[in-house]
């Protein structure tokens, strides 16, 4: 029975009314670990264990500190500034601040949604995420409670917000000064970020009818070429489904889906398709400016996160009204929340206002489709065209002086002037290649000394490929259900499924979106479980094989080897991290509630899961990565990831860093570097693939699992780097660890390295770092050992 909040009158008892306010019974009774609701130093010992092995590597973007009025201070060469902080400390402080920003974004998103959903459905609305007993793994592990209703998340958000305030305070000048403790606090912020995301996604799944651990969600259309631009077009930009849901409801009730096109940009698009089968996806943030400049949208609706700061200026040029629906992004627009819909539409259609802040979401729902219909007529009548015509295009490309200023300002250093030169000769192919690699930032426009609108030129030249840009993406499924974990958990822990690779994050790719597709295709064919979310999930669906099928159409979406899962939007990243908790709990029976350290220790030593944020650009992505790192999950970023200024890189040559304890008796075992790094970058996809295979090694692998992982590591290195990995032998514990097909050849190589081989028995008799022990219980936490060896 669920006891509900409210007032009750008991029959027969006159003038007696029972008021039930906050219901908290049972929530505190099930705590199983030592750190429910951890404070900012509660998990410091665990953080130190991580930092001892994976020392932070700082790559400052600036050698200066200008946080306070003592400065600017020059910290070059790790000098101290006026307040006493050195460059190492300042870099770590920036890591903390970046993590806080990301965590705050997701948590504020969750807070906004929870406020809205409680208002609509009440606090007692039951959580329903699909076939799971472990409904909120991160909440249980961090908070020590098992939430039943959406109201149970209120204290969770209170906790996160309180902790974030403490963390922000630590970053003030004259507070924390130790790089190591800044990093511990950054871990804390990252963990809070995971928690905030989980709250946000669970409540929207529970209340809004989003898929619940559904492995067979339908496909959504995706791409810049999917919309019928002859119809009125509504484009929603950002991450928060609240406002778009009202628009979709209004359109559904009015039967408007045949008359108006509605699609999303960035993660709002994910959640729109999870909410309504009629919604479509334009793409990632990289498409934002490009799509606005296409002139196709008739109305832009913004909510929060990943919305370009210049969206109003850009929209104004093309007479596209902007409806801002969230307090965090208001652009100086007049608050029209209390005005009539007709008046607002008139003001926007006439051009009196370029946009409106509208926080009454019901009004948003009605206004936006009506406004789109009206604006489509007006804009058509005005003949608004965004991109240059053929003649203008010809003149513009001819103006290029090849000064390379655009290339110097371009985040990807794209060879724009070469494409201009080719276009002068009628060859548009180089521009079409640039279109895929361009992240759509528009910095080139500002840099051109002769005033070429470079982005428009790229897009004009690429019209043919843009028209054909039509993909498919399996709609976000939400969590991985308990039954799937039961089926696959053993394979993951023993290594017979070579690993879980989670492709997450944004579109700031070093060499175009196709790289993500290529890497996913290679790894899924090797039976890795591929999980996607956010913009990476979209980009995976943008390319097709020779038969015209996307990867989502080729590979099913169950949590088993060789499958491709999309969890959903940015906040659905929580489910990816939470999957490791589920494995620890469901497969291994580890207690979760208030037991972060033990769970993270299990994940680090036993679950071959790796996150890949190949195009990460935002603070949110950094926070997610940092949270995953605290949970024992390694993350690889693309080369731009070095601009986050901090990584966690292991030193395989320092043998003492790779000691773990055997949980059976506390004995110290020197193990192979597995996983070798917690946060690192790679320069190219060629380098990325063998690195991913390597980061899936875990000390707990059994021989069959190790042989499978070793096979992929060696093959990927040979295929993409044309070499046998230098360190492959480090991961060999006995002959059974060797891939069967290459066993003899590898034994010979080991012999050349000085290992002793019994060729008659084809056995290794001397050489490995350690032996295989199927009962080995690797742990980094002494208290988890049954008997500590003295």
């Amino acid at each position: 029975m669920i006891v509900k909040k409210g007032s009750f009158v008991i029959e027969g008892l006159e003038n007696v009314q029972i008021n039930i306010g906050k219901i908290g019974e049972g929530l505190e009774e099930k705590i199983e670990g030592p750190t429910p609701r951890p404070e900012i130093i509660s998990l410091r010992n665990w953080d130190y264990r991580i930092l001892d092995r994976y020392a932070p590597v700082y790559t400052p973007t600036s050698d200066m500190c200008d946080y306070c009025t003592y400065g600017k201070c020059d910290l070059t060469g790790n000098k101290e500034g006026a307040c006493g902080i050195d460059l190492e400390g300042q870099s770590a402080r920036q890591a903390l601040m970046t993590s806080i920003m990301g965590a705050a974004c997701h948590t504020a998103h969750g807070r906004h949604l929870l406020h809205y959903l409680i208002k609509k459905y009440g606090e007692d609305r039951l959580i329903d995420v699909g076939p799971s007993n472990l409904k909120a793994p991160l909440t249980e592990t961090i908070m020590g409670i098992q939430p039943q209703t959406i109201g149970d998340f209120l204290p969770v958000l209170d906790y996160i917000e309180e902790q974030l305030t403490q963390l922000i305070a630590a970053a003030n000048t004259g507070q924390e000064g130790s790089a190591r403790d800044f990093e511990s606090k950054a871990f804390h912020a990252g963990m809070l970020d995971l928690l905030g995301m989980e709250v946000a996604d669970i409540i929207q799944i529970s209340c809004m009818g989003l898929p619940k651990s559904d492995e067979k969600t339908p496909m959504a259309e995706i791409g810049m070429g999917i919309l019928d631009s002859k119809k009125p077009v509504v484009i929603c930009v950002g991450h928060n489904i609240a406002a778009p849901a009202y628009i979709l409801d209004y359109m559904d009730k009015g039967g408007l889906f045949d008359k108006i096109e509605i699609a999303g940009l960035c993660c709002t698009a994910h959640d729109m398709t999870r909410y309504s089968k009629s919604a479509k996806i334009i793409g990632s943030m990289s498409k934002e400016l490009k799509y606005i400049r296409s002139g196709i949208p008739d109305v832009l609706v913004t909510d929060e996160q990943c919305v370009r700061a210049d969206i109003l200026r850009e929209a104004k040029k093309l007479h596209i009204p902007v409806i801002a629906t969230n307090e965090k992004i208001t652009y100086g627009l007049p608050d029209r929340s209390n005005d009539s819909i007709d008046t607002i539409i008139d003001d926007l259609a006439s051009g009196k206002n370029e946009g409106a802040l509208l926080l009454d979401l019901e009004k948003v729902g009605e206004l936006v489709p009506r406004l789109a219909v009206k604006m489509a007529e007006i804009r058509k009548a005005k003949g608004i065209t965004a991109l240059p015509d053929q003649e203008d295009f010809r003149k513009l490309v001819a103006k290029c002086t090849k000064c390379l200023q655009c290339t110097r300002d371009c985040p990807q250093s794209l060879p724009i002037s070469d494409a201009m030169a080719a276009a002068v000769n009628g060859d548009l192919a180089p521009f079409e290649i640039l279109h895929d690699k361009c992240v759509g930032c528009g910095r080139c426009d500002y840099s051109c000394p002769v005033g070429i609108p470079v982005l428009n030129v790229i897009e004009k030249a690429s019209q043919q490929v843009i028209r054909e840009e039509k993909g498919k993406m399996r709609i976000g499924r939400g969590q991985i259900g308990d039954p799937e974990i039961r089926e696959e958990g053993r394979n993951l822990v023993l290594g017979t499924t070579p690993g879980v690779l989670a492709f997450v994050g944004c579109g700031n790719y070093p060499d175009g979106t196709k790289d993500v597709y290529d890497v996913v295709e290679e790894m899924i064919q090797r039976s890795y479980i591929i999980i996607t979310s956010g913009c990476a999930a979209m980009d995976v669906g943008m390319y097709k094989d020779k038969e015209g099928k996307t990867l989502y159409e080729r590979y099913p979406g169950r949590f088993i080897k060789g499958n491709l899962l999309n969890t959903g939007s940015c906040v659905s990243n929580a489910h990816i991290a939470a999957t490791t908790i589920k494995v620890a709990s469901i497969f291994a029976g580890r207690k979760t509630k208030g037991n972060w350290e033990e769970i993270a220790d299990y994940v680090l030593n036993r679950i071959g899961a790796v996150g890949i944020a190949w195009g990460a650009y935002s603070q949110k992505a950094f926070a997610i990565a940092t949270g995953c790192n605290r949970l024992g999950i390694p993350v690889v970023a693309g080369p731009h990831g070095t601009k986050y200024r901090r990584a966690f890189i292991g030193k395989p040559y320092r043998k003492e860093d790779w000691n773990v304890l055997d949980g059976r008796d506390g004995s110290v075992i020197n193990v192979e570097p597995a996983p070798e790094h917690l946060m690192i970058t790679a320069e190219t996809k060629d380098e990325l693939m063998p690195l991913l295979a390597k980061l899936c090694f875990r000390p707990s692998d059994n021989s069959l699992g190790r042989a499978i992982k070793l096979t992929h590591y060696i093959e990927l290195s040979e295929k993409y780097l044309k070499k046998m990995p230098d360190d492959w032998h480090v991961y060999v514990r006995n002959e059974a660890d060797l891939p069967v097909a290459k066993r003899e050849q590898l034994l010979k190589l080991l012999e050349e390295k000085g290992w002793k081989i019994d060729w008659e028995k084809k056995k290794i008799t001397e050489g490995p770092l350690r032996k295989v022990d199927v009962s080995f219980q690797p742990t980094n936490v002494p208290r988890l050992c049954k008997e500590v060896k003295k």
């Binding site: 973007t61 200066m64 070059t76 990584a647 320069e683 380098e687």
Partner: protein, 205 residues
Amino acid sequence: MTKKEHVKPLDKTGTKTVEKPVAKPQEKPEAIDTTRQAVPFDTGNIPGPKMARAVMPAVQGKMLAKAKRPLLIVGSQIHEEDVLSRVVAMGQTGLQIAAVGNAYKSLGDKGLDVHYANMHALASYLCDPEWQGLDGKGGYDLVAFFGITYYYASQAISALKNFSKIRVISIDKYYHPNADMSFGNLKKDVFIAALDEVIKELPKR
């Protein structure tokens, strides 16, 4: 006459690479100047008050030649033949090479002292005075680099600039502010010629 015309194709040993111009009477050959355009190639990449000194190739070459334990780091942008041949030429002088990114795939079969490394990890190891190098024979006192994605190299060497004592010289096509010494931003032909000038200074095997 353009500067490119000074460059002639490599011979098989890769050692002789720059042809002195056939000087007309009373006309001096046009010298390569690698100190121009010494501004960060990515316009926003201004780290602080200490930025690389722009120098001529001979200076870089002499630094490399004099180093006790130098390391050349090259990355994913060395696959074109004109650049690759210069990497090979440098490697053939006995210079140890760290092939980062996917550079190894063009270098592994050239008989050089070349080792794959991840650039980010390499930067970390180079900051560790205890690290014994890619071959286990000791740490490095100088690293030179080129042909790595610009911003990636710049970030990685910012670690060396601020947290190590190793001398860092950029012999890249672009000005790298975080190095101790660097070329300015060069056109391709000048860059190739500059590499040849560096090679000339290296000890012959």
